[in-house]
């Protein structure tokens, strides 16, 4: 009996390999789950639930690549299920209907956010509309496409365009803020 193989099998049985996967993929999976759920805790729950399932399958794990694909796909489905069950979306929309900024003391982020909001205002009409539906109303690309009778490709392109424009403008803002910060220190 191949000792190495035996050790490996034992590891499969006790689930140690699952812990390794947890350590390796928790971060990227959590970030992915967050993009769908928009809630740090929910995202953590989703990833933990997926690893619970992986743990149940620990005796049949094969090469890393297929486990990795499994994890991403499972997180995706888990999130969609949770999203439907918990109506996170309603909560998300309700939260975003609050006044955009509480008078905070975080000068930099407030200043910057106002600048970005201003830049969003300056986007071409269509681009602004699509970007706002995605970012402020939390709508899926397919929903936006259906609502505006556009293709999903167009929505992708318009949001890409919005980000490209905002990034270009933001680079300038960041430098201004940065120098402002240095001067005031």
């Amino acid at each position: 009996m191949d000792l190495h193989k035996a050790a490996k099998e034992e590891q499969h049985q006790d689930g140690g390999v699952v812990v390794q996967y947890f350590n390796a993929y928790f971060e990227v999976l959590h970030r992915y789950a967050y993009t769908i759920l928009r809630d740090n805790d929910e995202a953590k729950d989703a990833v933990q639930a997926v690893f619970l399932k992986l743990w149940e399958k620990r005796t049949e794990l094969k090469e890393e690549q297929s486990v990795k694909s499994y994890l991403y796909t499972a997180v995706y489905h888990q999130c969609l299920n949770m999203k439907r069950h918990e109506k996170i979306k309603e909560k998300y929309v309700a939260e975003n209907n609050k006044p955009l900024y509480d008078p905070g003391n975080d000068l930099i982020s407030k200043e910057r956010s106002n600048q970005i909001l201003q830049e969003i205002e300056n986007l071409p009409t269509q681009c602004k509309l699509i970007f706002s539906k995605s970012r402020f109303e939390g709508k899926k690309y397919s929903e936006i496409a259906a609502e505006l009778s556009l293709s999903v490709k167009t929505v992708e392109a318009q949001i890409g365009k919005a980000l490209k424009t905002l990034r270009k403008k933001l680079l300038g803002i960041m430098i201004i803020i940065f120098s402002f910060f240095i001067v005031n220190v």
């Binding site: 970030r31 740090n40 955009l100 909001l117 980000l163 990034r167």
Partner: protein, 334 residues
């Protein structure tokens, strides 16, 4: 040794990811791309900053990994040793906890005084679909996708000592492994026993078919049984009461759940029927002649828009989407 994804990463795709619209494959491609260079990570960080700072709130925060791992290990322990299962995360715990507590008091008193009748009152969970398709997670974390006009039933005791359910119609299962609690589906008058696998079941008055994608299942009735492995299809003919195993499977029968298709010389009508279920859209042929045009193409969980483009280009037709309806028009001459 890892296989690189061939999805190119650009700002459009990153935007899609930040919007929560990226497919698992796309998310994987982005994470690989991020690991490549510091420039990539910087671009991603810039876009994330823009995205997050527009809307108030804490924004993205990576939880403490050690803490998350400890919590997860506790979940496993509970699962293994006690009969107490962690309440499903999907449960709006806070709001109903008090109500449930009250209910437990009342029902336990009721059970205490009426034990005999209570035993008969095993309530059942029934999931029924009409034209829609239902994607759901069972109490044991197995995933089920119930095709249209199908019904799935199980008792509240599901997952206590075994996992038994009854299926009428068609469903896809991705079963969570648990050798202590076999997952048994009753379809017609046969049983299908599973240890941990994914497969599709079609039950109608003539036959019961189980197509296995991964793992293996046991189909049985009385002493008659067959084992069906990944890549095989097990069939039970109701008229002859015979089981048989076939070595070829048609991935398309599971397409409504997996979105994996391999169309070979399929008519556009057949393709749109399958795609409509998988993507929850309706197809309308503005030119009926197009229904019989045929084409061949594999699709692996691609965005619908991509599939429509392939169809448009291959058959020289036009696909126009309005809400959930896709209109197919054109002369259709190559």
């Amino acid at each position: 040794m890892s296989i690189r994804s061939h999805i190119p990463v650009d700002i459009e795709l990153l935007g899609k990811y930040l919007s929560g619209d990226a497919s698992p494959e796309e998310a994987m491609a982005i994470d690989e791309w991020l690991a490549d260079t510091p420039e990539n990570r910087r671009l991603f960080q810039e876009l994330t900053d823009i995205w997050e700072s527009i809307v108030p709130g804490t924004g993205y925060q990576l939880p403490d990994k050690e803490q998350a791992l400890l919590e997860w290990q506790r979940l496993i322990k509970n699962k293994d040793t006690a009969k107490v299962y962690p309440i499903k995360n999907a449960f709006p715990f806070k709001y109903v906890a008090a109500a449930v507590l009250g209910l437990i008091c009342v029902t336990s008193a009721y059970f205490f005084f009426h034990k005999k009748t209570a035993d008969k009152m095993i309530s059942e969970v029934v999931k029924q679909t009409n034209t829609e398709i239902l994607r759901d997670t069972l109490p044991d974390h197995s995933i089920v996708v119930l095709n249209s006009h199908s019904q799935l039933r199980y008792t509240q005791q599901f997952n206590d000592s075994n996992r038994a359910l009854t299926l009428h119609g068609q469903a896809w299962f991705d079963v969570a492994t648990n050798p202590q609690k076999p997952f048994v589906i009753q379809a017609g008058d046969i049983h299908i026993k599973v240890l941990g696998t994914s497969f599709n079941v079609i039950q109608d008055s003539n036959k019961i078919e189980a197509t296995v994608k991964t793992g293996a299942i046991l189909m049985y009735k009385g002493n008659n049984n067959i084992t069906v492995k990944a890549g095989q299809k097990g069939v039970f003919q109701v008229s002859s009461q015979q089981f048989s195993v076939m070595d070829t499977i048609d991935m398309n029968v599971m397409g409504y759940a997996t979105r994996v298709f391999n169309f070979e010389n399929a008519t556009l009508k057949d393709m749109t029927t399958e795609l409509g279920k998988a993507y929850n859209v309706n197809f309308v042929f503005e030119n009926k002649e197009l229904e019989n045009r045929t084409m061949s193409s594999p699709f692996e969980n691609n965005p619908l828009q991509y599939i429509l483009e392939v169809i448009s280009i291959t058959l020289n037709v036009e696909c126009r989407q309005e809400n959930n309806t896709i209109y197919i028009s054109g002369k259709g001459q190559n």
